[in-house]
């Protein structure tokens, strides 16, 4: 597949994620949209890795493997981040009995 298609798909998914972050007020939904953005990036990275593999296959049989390894690490980080983030949201809910991010403006006081 021409790489363009993957690029546009990933960009579209990413922008939908951005729109979701900006539009929703529920903290959990916002978090999920962030995950969506991460996945879009993962997809693109894998596509690029295959592109490089195709281009440089002759010289280096392992060309392009870095992309997929990086995706692996992104997943690792995403997992860790989700666990901590949800803990924070749970804590926020315990304090304010709501998951509305607008209530976070109490930080201003």
């Amino acid at each position: 597949m021409p790489i363009n298609y993957y690029i546009f798909l990933a960009v579209a998914l990413f922008c939908i994620g951005v729109a979701g972050v900006l539009t929703r007020r529920n903290a959990i939904i916002i978090f999920m949209c962030i995950e969506l953005m991460l996945n879009a990036v993962n997809l693109l990275l894998v596509a690029f890795s295959k592109m490089h593999h195709l281009a440089l296959q002759a010289t280096n049989p392992n060309a392009g493997i870095d992309g997929q390894l990086f995706v692996f690490f992104i997943m690792v980080v995403a997992a860790a981040e989700v666990s901590v983030g949800l803990a924070i949201i749970a804590m926020m809910y315990r304090n304010t009995h709501s998951v509305d991010v607008n209530f976070l403006n109490r930080l201003k006081h």
């Binding site: 996945n39 295959k50 593999h53 997929q68 997992a79 666990s83 803990a87």
Partner: protein
Amino acid sequence: MNTTQLLFWFLSIVALFSAIMVVVSKNPVHSVLWLIIVFFTISGHYILLNAQFLAIVNLIVYAGAIMVLFLFVIMLMNLNADTEPQKNKWLKIAGVIGGGALLLVLVAALKDADLKNQIAQTGQGEIGLIHNLGIALFNDYVIPFEISSVLFLSAMVGAVVIGKKE
């Protein structure tokens, strides 16, 4: 069109539709479910690109663990559609426009990129196989690998500490 292309288009459309539904759904539980479908389609894309290991890992980690966690938290807080707080209409429009603008800018930037005609190899390629990934991971990237275990440790400790009741 051959199978590959067909599959690509099908998976892409489902992915995009599901992503939009994630953002638009009123009920948080529905959003989670749509997100799981997005993950399935993305895994489908990975398989298409012959990144087998990643496809499986994506399913296990994301759809299996992370989304389940999300569901637990949503159930815990007893969120459903009517308790969903609504944003100011103008801000919603601003958000959509913001996202849309980003999309336009990126597309415009990339449409004339030189790598237009490069091909992402589908269906073949040794590098997606677990055997090769494993070798590369434990030879060249062993240090990040070890450190990621430390990262997990700190995340666990952090989650426990934050989530503790007083």
